[in-house]
Symmetry: C2
Subunit: 248 residues, 2 copies
Amino acid sequence: MNPVIKKMMEHRSIRKFKEDEVTKQQIETIIQAAQMAPSSSFMQSYSIIGITDPAIKKELGKITESEYVEKNGHFFIFCADLYRLTVLASAEDKKEMEEMLESTLFYQISVQDTSLAAQNALLAAESMGLGGVIIGGIVKELPKLDKILQLPPYVIPLFGLAIGVPDQQPEIKPRLPMTSVYFENAYKTDSLHQLIEEYDQRMNEYYQTRTENNRIGTWSSKNIEMFKMKTPVEFFSQYVKEKNMNKN
Amino acid sequence: MNPVIKKMMEHRSIRKFKEDEVTKQQIETIIQAAQMAPSSSFMQSYSIIGITDPAIKKELGKITESEYVEKNGHFFIFCADLYRLTVLASAEDKKEMEEMLESTLFYQISVQDTSLAAQNALLAAESMGLGGVIIGGIVKELPKLDKILQLPPYVIPLFGLAIGVPDQQPEIKPRLPMTSVYFENAYKTDSLHQLIEEYDQRMNEYYQTRTENNRIGTWSSKNIEMFKMKTPVEFFSQYVKEKNMNKN
């Protein structure tokens, strides 16, 4: 196993960090690594905001109800960004660009670009001996976050990435069986039920025996319960549309 | 520079491959690496379809008008997948899950999960001495592709990934200046105009002097022209909604 794949196979999310700071040099290397990810039509349609202001970090910790969002070596917010592409466009150009900028297609593409860059950022951090976790919970209060980060139109926050020196070493989570994720030539639903049942048993054992936060439950039951929660979701699509994205 | 970051910094998209096959063992390692990427709430909301049927590869080459989609060591299609999460749900559960499954929020989350996994897959391939390119053009004929791949509801193809032994070594593309991508505490629009102007000059030089496919143009002009094209986009959002995603 080469060192790149070895590092990938060692991934676990780290949610508890030592007080050590992440250096400016490390942050720059992480951003450089993120920028080397491919992007659709070389649009590079993302921006990254590093949060160094303790007041903002505290606010984010409150929004996400997660201590590690406040307490970490460094906290990034990854944003989908179609705004930068328009900066040198004339007013007339901008008018003509609107239909595509506001489309679901380009919303999706910018989410993809941002996520490709984020995975490089996380793995780069891990390769330096740091740990990290991606946190989606920042979207719970999007309009507030939008204001704090002073985001122009066509820029929306997708998720945070907390990194730092690990102060925990959780077990690696067993992944879905490969045959339920990877198919040849066509999606196969036939064997999925049995494969997931077996995986659920394995995950139930994992959840019960892991060192921290152990509990009873399966992968399916956990997800089914989450999707049954009547969490408001309309606010989310409304916010995205107000930022002129995902409209047509 | 450690070996992981070194590999990231060497990334360029490869669009021409030698005839060497990618081994079954290599494909399995790439999928394993992809599966180690983090996913939101550990949903693992993606599926990967490897195309080995020459007739399908030919068809995909036609759809994308790209020879390298047909001729490569292996071709993957990465799909956002919220279907697998419902396999063990009762009919009643499924009914209750619908609102969240059909939301823009979970559409976005599954696009993120898929892309995080894809970046690991690409980098894993590169770490083995292979090259690759992500190709979004497969979405040009989504309903046809959906049928070929036999995708259930809540599963949509996002992009392809062609890999193989490189038969070209293009120059590495200069990225946007870090100060136009990375901000502290808030997005800064003030300096963007100048930074992008400088980058456009740099990219114009790059486009004119690179070994293959050289031409005149800047990063901004290329993007502005693309967004001004009245390519149909409505079909795209309609397809996504027909798959019961991004509806509310």
